[in-house]
Symmetry: D2
Subunit: 472 residues, 4 copies
């Protein structure tokens, strides 16, 4: 079975060319001028862009939290991703069993039957001892090459600095990459306690109890631990100007530190949390200020920040009111759990489907980024850093045929009507977007065609990732 995408403009991280793409089964077989392939299904991409499918390295599907669970499962999340042009998602495996293997097994049990796009997982290292230490390198044969540690969430997810240092050294020797959630857990705990005792329970206090300075120092702390361990590091969801300052400093000092941000941190501020529906914007780390937004944009522009991900972890704004999703009425407890107490609001927000369309308009069309840079941070860099490249993240012969045909002229009014997340709100509701995915292929199979969903549960494939991936 062959498909020929004709007449489009292929965008890779560095190239912009007029060429046809010939897909043979699951793979891209050929790029060429005027390819003629009689037995191929021809897709006319005239005036369209042909982008690699996006790679979102930061999603949380069906994540239990605060007495509920994130409202997208591996199926609905993948479906939303696909509608937004993303064809690979990397989730996180919680360390809530005895051994890492058991955790991985358990996660596969949940994810595999539902997966609709290709996927992988990072392993959370949220407790550490000699047994865990000895199990980490074994993850590689399970296809898992990345570990996540936290400097926040004391007594739940956080490791001590020395433990992180040890994880980094194990990772480094095994060719794995450590990812870090950078905040100062101690101060946050204290401020939250005080907020509660003072009756400061509205959503904006979520932001006020997680100061940007804590994130800033944690970035340097992580970088310093990495320096001392001789290991690379990847900072997730960068959100504060100071974090960019410190990442820039670390890189200038020659350290192999990489950083990711997410769209929400580019557009929103603490003021959004102060709105009547502020709970919609609650995630951790929180929204900051306009000054932080600006520095993140600048950091992207000057190549300090290498990856755009989403930290997708949606909850209903009002989980008491069902919505219709694939003909089913569904309601999952959500943000309303914390109506009177921000500490009870599940942390997280939707985004896996929004990332590429929202950024196309607001980064590419606005001149902040070239289409190549857009592909670089949304597709290629994540694939490279996370050991998926060149299978994923590019449009080249031999790569998986994960492709988004993008209509740069399409105008839409964005929001829940188009985003396909299984939740009742969208942060970008009513935004006018120009440029939108028209057709999306996953390993050669058309899974999104305009507004039509052609994907299937279980069609997604778990990708065994490679260690010793590139450090950018």
């Amino acid at each position: 079975m062959k498909t020929l995408i004709k007449g489009g403009t292929i965008i890779t991280a560095s190239e912009t060319i007029q060429a046809d793409v010939l897909i043979n089964e699951e793979k891209i077989q050929r790029l060429g001028q005027d390819i003629i392939e009689p037995d191929a299904l021809v897709i006319d991409a005239t005036n369209k862009l042909v982008l690699p499918g996006g790679v979102d390295v930061h999603t949380h599907f069906s994540l239990p939290m605060a007495g509920t669970i994130s409202s997208d499962d591996h199926y609905t999340g993948h479906k939303a991703a696909a509608f937004g042009g993303t064809t690979t998602a990397i989730d996180f495996i919680s360390l809530d069993r005895e051994t890492l293997d058991e955790c991985v097994d358990e996660w596969h049990k949940i994810a595999d039957p539902l997966a609709a796009i290709d996927y992988s997982a990072h392993m959370n290292i949220t407790r550490f001892d000699d047994r865990i230490a000895s199990q980490i390198p074994g993850l590689i044969k399970r296809g898992i090459t990345t570990l996540k540690v936290f400097t926040a969430y004391n007594n739940r997810l956080r490791l001590q600095d020395g433990e992180i240092f040890k994880v980094m050294r194990i990772a480094k020797n095994a060719g794995m990459l450590t990812m870090m959630h950078a905040e100062n857990g101690d101060v946050i705990e204290i401020l939250i306690d005080e907020a509660i005792r003072s009756g400061n329970l509205s959503p904006v206090w979520h932001a006020r109890t997680r100061p940007a300075w804590g994130a800033t120092e944690a970035v340097l702390r992580g970088s310093s631990l990495a320096a001392q361990a001789g290991a690379p590091l990847y900072i997730v969801h960068m959100n504060a100007a100071g974090e960019v300052d410190q990442l820039e400093y670390a890189r200038k000092m020659g350290l192999p530190i990489m950083g990711e941000t997410c769209p929400q941190y580019l557009f929103f501020t603490e003021d959004n949390l102060a709105q009547i529906d502020g709970a919609k914007w609650i995630c951790s780390p929180p929204m900051r200020s306009a000054k932080d937004n600006a520095r993140l944009w600048e950091g992207l522009k000057n190549g300090i920040i290498k990856v755009m991900a989403t930290d997708h972890c949606p909850f209903f704004f009002d989980g008491t009111k069902p919505i219709k999703y694939e003909e089913e009425n569904i309601a999952i407890p959500g943000k309303e759990l914390g109506k009177t107490d921000f500490t009870k609001i599940p942390n997280g927000l939707p985004g896996v489907g929004d990332r590429m369309p929202v950024l196309w308009t607001n980064a590419v069309n606005s001149g902040r980024m070239t289409p190549n840079h857009f592909v670089e941070i949304n597709c290629t860099n994540p694939a490279k850093i996370f050991g998926l490249y060149p299978q994923k993240g590019t449009i080249m012969p031999g790569s998986d045929a994960d492709i988004a045909i993008w209509d740069p002229e399409k105008n839409v009014t964005y929001g829940i009507g188009l985003s396909h997340h299984r939740t009742d709100y969208n942060l970008y509701e009513g935004w006018h977007l120009k440029g939108f995915p028209e057709k999306v292929f996953s390993r050669g199979k058309l899974i999104v065609d305009g507004e039509t969903w052609l994907g299937k549960k279980g069609d997604g494939r778990f990708i065994h990732r490679k260690p010793f991936a590139e450090i950018l």
Copy 2:
């Protein structure tokens, strides 16, 4: 006529893939897995890398200077370039006639019959008045989209700040790019006068009379003029740490300023000029210090400097002793002209052929740069910034088949024996290099095959460049 490069690893600025390349006449027609093309000449590239031919945007062939002329003409220079993997060179047109058109005509007369690879030219704007101003936009229809200005060489090449500002505005409106030689001409004149009067005439005084601080401020001055003109700017041959500091500052302030460095500034220092054969290292701006070398490397690594060029402008070290070049005995007056007075030494050194082999060993093999980054700064970025892309600078369908097949395992002892410049010395004499071009194609035609030269005078084609090129 088709050629099929089979089994190699294609390197672009962002991709590294196993794929075959099908060349049809002058163009790359196809990239693909296992291409079979019965009527094509097959080149086995197994275990070889397939790189875009290099683009050197800064060469001076047959440049009259100090009573002589740079010793490579458009033929020998192109030949040397090709042996080093470079397939496009951009030269400079002197403004030494009445009108820009006459200058361009004159330059074509000299270059066209000799050209052996594809080529273009920048226009030097070394005097400025309303007539020149009005002629500048007309260069575009001649295929020339870039202008060079100087802040040094008073009364010869230098424009005043206000003239530069005006040139920038004209350029900006026409979609042209201004390039700048950044030094402080005034101080240099004074210091040279004083050196002469003090009898400080040895080669090292060439460096001592051109202080790095002058280059540093000129970078900010140029950036500031560009900011005020709303225009982009490209700084040539960056050589001093302070220049990188100021380029970084300008970019962080959001200005569209780009910078180039050259290999010589990464490896050599003022100490080389103090050697007995110091004249070999005389070019302008001069070699600096080890600290400057280091900052340039760092600036490349962090993406502050976008292009590697050569400022190729060779002279004989001893132009009284003929060398054999293509069976001819040739001697051209050179550095010996200034044996007793550095101000008489023609400024410039060979490099067009050295750039890629020397950097492959000393940047890629040494871990300072990925192969992709090597391609980015040597091929793709120069092509993009100078309006040659995607015709040049990449390996993609539709691009010109300018290709260097690179043997990453080939060991050579480098020097004049391999470099093919028409001069009697090489700065990298005796350096051990690993990784070397094996075969070089220019628009589909094999022009270098190992040590065999298959190119021809006049086969090179002048490339009409496009205005409004990308600003990186």
Copy 3:
């Protein structure tokens, strides 16, 4: 004749102490606890601060400009200075005669009979040749140790870079200090021409034709020339954030560069020029933006900027309407000259008297600066840098008894009613100030007592300054 200031708190650049000050004739003789001196006139300073009289190193009295003359002469300017707590002023001598000596003579003729506080002068070097060069060191025996150069005002005041470089070297060898007005003259000329031709003639175009980027690069250019000359440099009237960035850079690189700002650049912006009475704020360089204000404050706080001066050069806002000054009706053509054309508006504004009272409230009371830091930048640093120390700038035995007794609790509504400049407006009209000079002594003589003026024309003494002054 002795005076004993009892019970006050003496503030120096580093000390804050309760002590009495005994003045003997013109000098401070003693500081002590509970000094008893029966034959001294006792001034009760209980609850008052005892500050060194201010040193304003940047004033322009009776400066001819644009067909008129700055409206304060050496008498009225000195008087206004004294009412604001300033007891030394350094003016500028125009280079408008054949020799420097003639210029100095001429300036003395005008200044000496009028001077009411102690004073000195900088020599403007606005043209340069061998004769001027040879005359410069001779200024020292005239008591003049500082030279001012301009990078703006082409064909009037500007020197070329090479000339500035030469001036710096002469200055350095003679122990003199070069001061620089840092803007880019070329661009300014062009933009003004264009504004005129476009009919953009309102006051705000004064700012728009003098971009901050020009000032920013000129600071680095000056610093670089100084670096190459091995000489110190003092940048006058810093006004733009970028200037502070570059001064910080130069100092971090180890260069002996110092900078001054003026109160107007801390409080006002281009928006003030867009007001109906925008002409009041016209001076060169112009007001910038709130971001620039903030960076200047930060630069003061972190010790990057060392001196506060005023660039006092007042003009009437409406010179057709006389005001009463010392019982005389006086009207001097002023800003109204450019009512329909900003290029005709005389550049400059009042400030010599405002500096200390305005900053006390807005820097000390607001917590931006300690009282010691206030004294450091308004009194001690200027005295040290300009060779007046320890005669001026501090309260110590042996120093001139130039003292301002400051009432930190006094509230005033500031403006022309209190400022004593000979002009018809004040930039700080209606500002509420807390803390004000109560009594001012010049060499032991009480010249200001509350609102009473006790000074006299001709009582001021020209201070012969010393070369090789401190570099801070």
Copy 4:
């Protein structure tokens, strides 16, 4: 009893003046020109400098460590301080009793009978709970206004980040200042364990197990905790370039963070620990590299680092061999305890007496620092920041007559022969110094006269310090 110091040059943090100093009993009564006081003892200070006695805010006398005790007690340490021109020392009180009051009492019992110069103490907060929290403000009435916390020495001295945050808030509300020892305890513990297990036991491993990156991040961590607490912070013994970078960053962000360095960090490197007698240089944090030395000098010069202290904590190099001290043979176990294991070497080195003479030659004479700046960082700033000012730290009427008469022309070969520390080595052995204290007064009493010691045990007075001291 009056003393009149005649004819000297008084140096304060900002002033340099020729004046006499009249001492009346314990206080400076008067500064004046030609003071005549018939009943005063006259000290001729012609051609001498008159400096405020030094304030060393960081000493450890009789500190128990590693099975021994630091070899200077409060008497011998004070005596050595005095010989070096230092007249006030602030020690640390260990938190090794139940309550803070008991700790203070115990410390007084040891210190008070021995003190020979004026002194005070900081309180170590090395464990934290609600009881400690409630006791902290009570320290103020004991005259103790400063608290020290550690981010290193896990399970011994270290507090967790949240505890430090709480300490800072208590301190801030009470007007106290938090001081921080900044290293990363976790990594250090791990590296020491590994070094031991690997048999890496020589002194240089002391440095290798305490990486500079840990100190660097801890400075930002501390600054960030302070930012979040709204509190000021003082970083002790800064030693690494990165620490200066981060302190500069924090200050530029507007945070009230101050830093101290010590002479040893300016002159020595890890190489010294690799010498045969490397144990002499063992202290924590360790010596770093020449690049770190240079950045510390630069940080001092540009006002980023505000205080010079010593961290004086001497041990014998060979505590088995007695030395003679005040006619007594004395030997105290020292560095030899760790002859075969660096972890057993007591950490610390002598310095209280060396600070001012060593720096005079190597900072003032070498042109790195003016005499005023020398006084500022050695005397005035420490007095201000630690609530001793104006009683200590300056030469002004009303201040304690703590004075060092300094002979700027005196040449000595420095070392144990002159340093008076009770130990058997000196880091600056054999260094040639020019400029040395000649006479030292403590509260008006001459305690050092050339090489003669006139001080007495018990003559030192505990200084009750004031809260809400200046933040610089």
